[in-house]
Structures are given as structure tokens and as C-alpha cells.
Amino acid sequence: MRRDTEFVLTSRPGAVNSLYLFAVIVLLVLLGLGWVLVDMGAVQTKSGDELFMYCAAGMRVPIEKIAADYEHEFGVPVRVTYDGSNTLLSTITAHQKGDLYLAADDFYINQAQDSGLVQEMLPLATMRPVIAVAQGNPKNIQSLDDLFRDGVKTALGNPEQAAVGKMTKKLLVDSGDWEKLSAHVTETGVFEPTVPAVANAVKVGAIDAGIIWDTTAKIIPGLDYIAVPELDPGISEVTLGVLTSSKQPTAALHFARYVAAREKGLPVFSQGGWEVVDGDVWSDRPELTFYCGSVNRRAVEPVLEAFQKREGVVVNTVYNGCGILTGQMRTIVDQDQGKGFPDTYMACDVYYLDTVKEMFQDAVNVSDTEVVIAVQKGNPKNIASLQDLTKPGMRVSVGQPRQCTIGVLTKQLLEKEGVYDGVMDNVVTQTTTSALLVPTVATGSLDATLAYATDTLAEGDKIDVVRIESPAGKAVQPFSIARSSDQKYLSRRLYTAISRSKDQFEEAGFHWRLDDVIGIEGAEQLPGSQGTDFLDPPAKISPPQ
């Protein structure tokens, strides 16, 4: 009896410490919800590796469709996060993760590349600013001047925040209208932070006219637009970049090529109203044919290896004397890549590219190397100049001018220095490529040869080098893309890879030329920026030969 009373006093039946009850219930509910969340998240990763992409919000509709098509075709899901291009850039900077970045304007992707966040860039479409008005154009706006009329309220993108605003300001400063228009807009209209904000303001009728991208104007129902000459030159590129932070660059590039392929992603953009670039032909694993003068081999080989690995493509490289290579090119009917015509060509010297230049886009001069006299170790014959090669009894080798560049250069050099006949009297053998010249001296067979300085480096223990002080003794290596190639953009990326391999070229003994164009007016037009015939602008600023 007494025990029972004590029991009741210390622990009343039914009295529960609600702290524990609360804890247990909350824990159970959290577990349940957590399971649901894990399940929701897990769905995404079941199908294997996925790609993560930052995408400008305005591109959402086509990208969603392309990503769905891609997942259907290859089973790789692409997770896309959307925001303004500039905000995304800040996020990428802070986070340093993810695979791809699609910017609505190449201004941001260029900025990302300058900061080392983006490695490859694939242009997709172009757009230009236009004046958007409500459907039917109720205020009858036909020109830029109409925006100054009383009673016309205009919205512009803020030049500090929106790419379209930045572009509008640049164009109108050029045309001399900016001061007046910005004052007018400040007084009666509005500056908006994004293109959709401008478009929506026009659409709902709060504003009469707004300057936005033509692509945006086309896809928004309820808007008409007017192209005006002042804004027409403002072409901007929608560009897809592959991030340097990507841990799966090959997979990212595979998707990027899919988006930028003329039968895959690009039609989706053009259906959505975008004016697309021509794009590469789609191939799961594209093959490039690359004709390469043999002098470049040592510098180019490691670059090609890395390029193939990262892109997941095959580069069929043909190294040979440039005379032979250009001869082959002329024999290939219709410049057909299927029959072996190259997509890209890097000659030993501009001389040979000139002979086939109608088949190629304009070139960029990547590097140059001197022609030197290679002699046996210790220089037993005391050769100090070209003149010495004319001495009786000298045994000399030179390149064959019809088959390789070194032969042409040697001929030009000797003629210029007035020793051609004398040296040719001593020539014992003429080789078909530059690669065969140095061994004739290194093996002790001959006394001297005229070879590229780059070819002599590897044999430094067997030969000595005598420099020739003549401006004619220099080979300049140009890189160019075939007009007939249907992989121009992939070729362009190959060029970009080569243009970033200064160290390899310098180690191989070349003088690097691409630095020379930096700082020259128009250098921002270097490959990867505007247009499709990309190699044209740099050629114009290459140092004269």
C-alpha cells in the first residue's frame, strides 16, 4: 500500500515530459521529410554523371529543350541554374564549381575568360538592340528621334547592370544621341536592371518604348519591334563557355558541341527567334584533319595530345614538308575533308600558305624561327658565315625548295646574300623535309647544313650552330582554317589551344609572335570574339613579312 502511494507521487501515470515527446515527434517528422528530400535529390543522380550549367535566364526556353533532348539521346542529365548573366558570373567567381556558363552577351563570357574562369567559348547566336513597342505600335514609333517626342515614355537597360544598356550607351554615344536620350529617359522614363524588366514594362503598357535585344522582342508575345540604324551595329554574341573549374571537361565539351551543332542545338535557338551562327556539323566524336609543317611538330605535339584528351575528339595530324602538303591539298577534289583535305593547316612558313590561300580563311602568325648553319661539334671546318659555305671542298645539305619550306627559305636567303651559286656547288644532298637536314651533320656525314634553329636544339651534343644575321633567314608559322571545313569552331578551339602554348613553342626554340599583337588596336578582335570568319581580323594586324 505504502509502496503504491510512493509510486503515484513520484511518477504519475500519464504524465509525460513533453520535452522528450516534442523531441521524439520532431525527430521522426524530420527523418520522414529528410527521406523525401533525399529521394527528390537522388532522382537526379541515379542516371550517372550529370553536368551543371549556369545559364542566362533569357535562354531558358531553348536550353531546357536542348538539355532534355541531350539527356534523351545520351542519358546524361544537364542541371541548369538560371539567373542574369552578370549575377551568374559573380556566383561562378565565388563558387568556382560547375561545368558550363551560357552568357546572354559575350561581354560577360570574355570577362570570365579574362579572369581565367572560362576555358573554351562556343558562340551560338547573335543579337542586336532594337526598339520594342506594344503590339500594334500605338505611339507610332518609327525611329530613334520618335523617342524624344513628348508623351513617349522610354525604358532603357541600366548601362551598369544590363548588357543591353551597356551596348545601347556605347552605340548612342557613337551616334551622338546618348546625352539627350538619357536625360529624356531620366526625366520621363526609367532605367531597368534587366532586359526582361524593360520588356515587361513595355508589355504591360507602363512604358511606350524600350531598347532591348531583338531576340527577346521576338519571343515575347505582345511586343513589336523596330530596328533603327543607330542601334544596328551593336551585334552581340550569345556564347557558351566551358568552365575551367569543370571536373569533367570532356563531357562538358560534348554537350557544348551538341548545343552549338548546326543540326542539334542551333535549330532550337533559331526556332525561338535567335539568329544563329553557322555552327559545326554534329558528330559524337569529331575528327579534325590537321596538316602541319614538320618544323612545328615538336611544339605542337603535346598541345594536340592535351587538346584531344580534353575535347574528346580525334585530330588526324599529317606532318610533312609544306611543299608536299600543299601539293596534296591541290589534288583533293572539292577540298573535301572526307577525302583527306585538312580542316586546319599550320605551315612552316607563310610562303607555302600563300600558294593555297584561296582555300583558307585568313591566317594568324603564331611563331617564327631562324634559319641557321648547323656544323659538326667543335666546328672543325671553322664555318662562321654563309660565305664560308662556298669554300671549295665543303660538303653541305639543304632543303629541296619544291618540297619543303626550308628549301624555299634557303634559296631566298642565299640569293639575297649573293652566295647561291657558290653554296649550291657544294650541296651534296637536298632533303624533302626539314627534319632530315640536321641528321646529315649530326651523323658526321656532311660539314654543314642550313636548318631551322628549332631543329638543332635536340642535337645540341652533336652539333654546333652558327647564326646568320639576315632578315631573310626567318620562317614564320601561320595557322589557318580551311574554308571548306565543317568543323570551323572546333578548329578555332584548336587554334586557341595552340595560342596558349607559348611555353612549348619557346622551349622548342621558336620565337612567339602572338604577344606582338597584344596592345595593337583591334587586338580585342582576336579569335574567339566576334564573327565566324574569325581568323580574318588578326591577319590584318600581323606584323608585315
Binding site: L37, G41, E64, K97
Partner: protein, 300 residues
């Protein structure tokens, strides 16, 4: 009775001191308050009427039996259309589950902190109090950015792969702000609970945990419901930090607030308004729950 007795002066006095009408006062209150209330209602009505007038209501297919009701159903049709899209369904589900998760997490944090702040004096209490207000006063974007930066540093960087731009980021971004509101509410709740009963429980031999669990907590039930619903509603309204820290990845980290933003950014105003209205309904339901079953006299 003398006929010369002067008439009493009282009516005059009464007349002079008659209490004036309260109507102007209340009219003034009504007008000032009414303007704001009308504006609030106007917002919602504008959304609904935009839906009624939008073309998208015509585009929705209806079964023949429902067809005659189209004029009446017009405001709802775009919402139904939106609800049919799988990404939006996912977004709704993630919003509901993550907000509930966040609300519970916020409560777990808010109950002990609220209790500590309300009942105890300890060194650094004022500092803690100020610190807890930071998420409330900071622009939400700053919270998102700071979270993003935080996860670049060890030890957080080691788990950043599973958090940043993933669902846990959604919860964390919501939680950082929602918990601050829950803490305020719980503190106010515990402030209003008389400590006498707890003290008596202690004198009768209860441990602190027993006194808290058996005496204090049952009294705080309504306050907890209020704190939970407030945290829930705050989590649902979260947007800026999510965009930065969790991203807006379709079928992954997209919640309703980001859906609205992105429908807007592709100028699909009908879609944006439809999703907004879904959020308005959800908020109304939750806030009604809070008012009916929650604490009536707790404000933050």
C-alpha cells in the same frame, strides 16, 4: 410652489459638456488604415483580374461538361495549367517539404535559445541577442552570399559538394533567416510565461529538464505553433539567398519563389502571376492556422 422660482440652469450646463461624437476619430482611423488594407487587397485583386483577362485562360482545354463554366473558372484556369507542369509540381513539393523541414529545424533552435534569453542572465547575453537579429536586418542577398563564401572554407568546403547548389542549400538558406524569426517568437512566448509554476516544480524536486518539459513547454505550445508557422511562411518567401547559394536548378533546387522570378524573366507574366497566387493561397492558409490555433498575443 412659487411661480417666481427661476428655471434650473442645468440644461444649459449639460448642453455645454455634452460628449462629442466619436465618429470623426474612427473615420480617420478607418481611412488611414483602410487605405493600406485596400492597397493590400488591391494587389491580390489585380493579380486575379490579370489572370481573368489574360489570353492564357482561353488556351486551357476543358472537358465538355466544364466548358460552360469557363467564364467563372477563368481566374483559376491559368493556375490549373501551371499546376499541370511537372517542374512546377516539383517546385511546389520541394517548397512544401523544405519549408516544413526548415520550420521544424528553426523550432529546435528557437526553443532553447528563446528560453535561455528569456529566463537567464549570463555574460554575453546582450551580444547574443544582437547577433540573433542579424539575419533579420541583413539584406537576404548578403545571407546567401555569405553562405556561399562560408562553404569555400574548411571544414565546410569538404562537404560543399553535397550542399552548395543542392537541396541542403535550400534548407540552409531558408533556415538562416527563418530561425531568427522563430527565436524572436519563442523568446516572446517564454517572456509571457510566469516563472512561478516552474519555480514551484523545482522546489518540489523536479530537475531543470523535468520542470522545463512538464511545466514550461506545455504552456509554450501555442507560441511554438506561431513560431513554426512564422518560420514556415518566412522560408516560403525566401528568395535572394536561395538564388545565390542553392541556384535555381529546374527539378532540383527550384522553389516557388524562384519559379515566379524565372517565369517573369522570360516575360511569361501569366505564369508568374499564377504561381504567385498559389503562394498567396498557401500563405493565407498557414497564417489562418497560426491565428486560429497559435498564440493570439505574441508579436515580434
Amino acid at each position: 410652489m412659487s411661480s417666481t422660482t427661476p428655471p434650473p440652469a442645468t440644461p444649459v450646463i449639460v448642453d455645454e459638456h455634452r460628449v462629442g461624437s466619436d465618429a470623426p476619430f474612427f473615420a480617420m482611423l478607418g481611412v488611414i488604415g483602410g487605405v493600406y488594407v485596400l492597397l493590400l487587397l488591391g494587389l491580390l485583386l489585380a493579380d486575379v483580374s490579370y489572370m481573368v483577362n489574360s489570353d492564357s485562360a482561353d488556351a486551357v482545354e476543358l472537358s465538355p461538361t466544364l466548358e460552360p463554366w469557363r467564364p467563372v473558372l477563368r481566374p483559376v484556369l491559368p493556375i490549373l495549367e501551371v499546376l499541370r507542369q511537372p517542374p512546377i509540381q516539383y517546385s511546389i513539393k520541394l517548397t512544401l517539404v523544405s519549408c516544413l523541414f526548415t520550420a521544424l529545424l528553426s523550432l529546435i533552435v528557437a526553443v532553447p535559445i528563446g528560453y535561455l534569453l528569456s529566463h537567464f542572465r549570463f555574460p554575453g547575453r546582450n551580444l547574443l541577442d544582437a547577433l540573433l537579429d542579424i539575419p533579420i536586418v541583413l539584406p537576404p542577398l548578403v545571407v546567401g552570399l555569405s553562405l556561399l563564401i562560408l562553404f569555400q572554407f574548411a571544414p565546410f568546403s569538404s562537404i560543399s559538394e553535397w550542399v552548395v547548389f543542392e537541396i541542403p542549400a535550400v534548407i540552409l538558406a531558408q533556415f538562416m533567416v527563418a530561425a531568427a524569426f522563430a527565436v524572436r517568437t519563442m523568446r516572446a512566448t517564454f517572456d509571457q510565461i510566469d516563472t512561478r509554476l516552474e519555480d514551484i516544480a523545482l522546489t518540489l524536486g523536479c530537475t531543470r529538464a523535468q520542470a522545463f518539459g512538464m511545466v514550461v513547454l506545455p504552456q509554450a505550445r501555442q507560441g511554438m505553433l506561431t513560431a513554426g508557422t512564422l518560420a514556415w511562411a518566412r522560408a516560403m518567401g525566401e528568395f535572394g539567398p536561395l538564388l545565390i547559394f542553392a541556384g535555381a536548378t529546374r527539378n532540383k533546387t527550384e522553389v516557388l519563389s524562384t519559379t515566379v522570378y524565372f517565369e517573369f524573366s522570360i516575360a511569361n507574366l501569366e505564369g508568374a502571376v499564377a504561381v504567385s497566387l498559389i503562394m498567396v493561397f498557401a500563405a493565407i492558409i498557414v497564417l489562418i492556422i497560426a491565428r486560429v490555433w497559435g498564440s493570439k498575443n505574441i508579436t515580434i
